[in-house]
Symmetry: C2
Subunit: 363 residues, 2 copies
Amino acid sequence: MRVGDRDLRTIWADGDRVAVIDQTRLPHALEIRHWRQLDDTVAGIRDMVVRGAPLIGVAGAYGLALALRADAGEASLDAAGAALLAARPTAVNLRWAIERVRAAVIKLPRAARADAAWDEAGRMADEDASTCAAIGRHGLALLNETAAAKGRVEVLTHCNAGWLATVDWGTALAPIYAAHRTGLDVHVWVDETRPRNQGASLTAWELQQEGIPHTVIVDNAGGHLMQRGRIDLVLVGSDRTTATGDVCNKIGTYLKALAAHDNGVRFYAALPASTIDFRLREGRAIPIEERGAEEVTHVTGADSEGALRTVRVVPAGARAANWAFDVTPSRLVTGLVTERGICPASETGIRGLFPDLVEAAAE
Amino acid sequence: MRVGDRDLRTIWADGDRVAVIDQTRLPHALEIRHWRQLDDTVAGIRDMVVRGAPLIGVAGAYGLALALRADAGEASLDAAGAALLAARPTAVNLRWAIERVRAAVIKLPRAARADAAWDEAGRMADEDASTCAAIGRHGLALLNETAAAKGRVEVLTHCNAGWLATVDWGTALAPIYAAHRTGLDVHVWVDETRPRNQGASLTAWELQQEGIPHTVIVDNAGGHLMQRGRIDLVLVGSDRTTATGDVCNKIGTYLKALAAHDNGVRFYAALPASTIDFRLREGRAIPIEERGAEEVTHVTGADSEGALRTVRVVPAGARAANWAFDVTPSRLVTGLVTERGICPASETGIRGLFPDLVEAAAE
C-alpha cells in the first residue's frame, strides 16, 4: 500500500535479506529492518516489530529459510521452528506456516532446501495479499450500497485490521481501500484501541498514507456516534471465529457490536478462512489472553521533540488487568466478509461458503 | 476522605484563605493550593485545579466571598460573578452557586457581606457533603443485597464520580465507601476513562487512599468482564438526568449500560437531585460538549523520574474528535440512587421521590 511516494508491503525479499517495516516505531518513524539470520526473525516476532497473525506466519516462514541457509539439516529445521514458536507462543498462524515450510522442503536434498523455503515464504506472502484483496472486493459491495443511497459512507473500525496486520491490503480495511480507489466518498472513524493504541497509531497512519479521510476517536465514543446517526457500517477484523459465527477480536469489539445492534447499524467482521476455527462451536470456549498490566498503566508516544517516551497514567503501585480480546456473539454480527464472499455469521452461512473446509474439519 | 494519614475534603476554609487539592497534579503528587483573592479562584476553576459540578459550585461561592472582601460593592459582586462564569461557561452549578450567594448577601450592609458570603459557601460545602453521604447510605443497600447472596461485591465504575468531584464522599463512589467502612468485601473495576483518564488517575487514587481493593482496566474491557460474570453492579455518576430518567454522563457510559443490559447486570446512576433537569423530557435534546482534539491525540503522565510529561499517540497531523458525554436511555438504567433514596429511572419513579421539585419545575 501507499507510504509516502512508495508502494510497500509489510515484508519482502530484499536480495538475500528479509525486509520488514518496524511497527514498534510507527506512527512516529518509518524504519525498515533487515533480517539476515534466524535470530533476527525470532527477535522481530517476539518484540512485535511485526505483528498480526497473517504477517507473523509469513515472517516465520522466512525465518526458517534463513535458518536453512546456515544449516540445512533436520535438527536445524526443528530448532528453528521451536525458537520461532517460543517467540509468540499463542500465534496459531506461526505453527501453520512452520509446518507448511517443513512439508515443502523435508524431502528435498539439503542443498535445495534453503532456496525452496525462501520461495515457499514468498508464495505465502503473495497468497496472503491475494486473499486480502479478495476480501476487499467482496466487502466493497457493502460500502457501495450505502454510497448509492446517501452519496457517502461513514465506517467505524476498531484496532488495526489493515495492511500492517497482513502482507498487504488488510482485512477490515481492505474494502475501504478498494472503495477509496474506485472514487467512493468514504470517511473512517478510527477507535484508538486501548491499551496498545493500534487504531491511533497504525490504522490512522495507514489511512493517512493512502489519503483516506479519517478521524481518531476514543473507544468510548463509538456508541454516541451511532446514536447520532454518524456511522453507517462497522467493519472489524477477527483473530478467531467459531464455526457458528462467534467473533473473537480485540477487546472492546463486543461493546461496538452492542451499540450497532441497538442503533440498527450493520456490523461486519472481515477475515480470511484461515481465521475460522471449524472445530469450535462456542465463542465462550475461546481462552482469552491476559497480557501485562503495564500496557494499561503506561502509555508510549512521541514528545514535542519527536522522541519516544513512556509515561505512567495511574497512581504508583496501582493494580491493572489487561485482557486482549473479547467475543462478540454471532447474534450481534450482521455478516462475515471473507475471500469467498459475504455470508451470515451462522453455521449455515459459513457452511454455505466453505463446505470443503467444514467437511475437512469434520474428519 | 482518607489521604495518607489525614482526612481531607476537596475544598475548605483555612484561616482567611480557601484551600483546595490541586487535581491537575493527581495522582502523581498531592499539592494543596491556597486562594487569597478572586483571581486565584477563577484561574483554579478555568485550569481544572478543581473540577466536578458540585465542587465547582462551592469553589465559585468562595470566590465571591474573596471578591467581596476586597470590595463589597454590587459592581464588584457582579464582576466577580461574570469572571467566574467565564471560567467554565457550561458548568450549571456555578451559576446556581453564584445566584445563591448573591441572594444571601445583597440585602446586607456592605461591611457584613464578605463574612456572610464566606459562611454561605461553608454551608454549601457542608450541604454537598451531607447530600453525598445520604447517596452513600441509600446506595449501600444495593451492595448489601449482592454481598448477602455471594459474600462479596464486584462493582464497575466509569470516570470519577468520587469525592474529588464533590466536596466529600462523592456520588457513585459514596455507596462503595459506605460499604467498605461497614466491612463489606468490595472490589472495584475502574474504567480508565479516556480521553482525560479520570478513572485511572482520580478514581484509582481515591480508592488507593481509602484502602479499597480495585483494578484499573481499559474502557474496552468492561463488556468482557460482564460476559464472564465478573461484575455484579455498575455504578456511575451523572452530569444531567432528564425528568424521564435518561442519564447524560461521561462518554462511554452508554456502552457499559448496553453491556450490563445484555448480561443481566444491574446498572445504577448515583446523583444529587440538583443534577436532575426536571424540565427536560428527552436525553437526545441534551447538547453534547465537544472538547479539544488534543485530549485524544496527547496523553499526560509521569515519566520514570516522576516528572509530568505529555506524549502524542497519533501520527503527526492526525485529525481527532472529542465528545465529552453521551446519553444512556432510561430503558437501560436499572435505577437512580439519590439523597432521598433509590427510584426507577422513569418519570413515575422520579416523581415519586421528588414531587415537590417536579411541581416547582412545572410552574
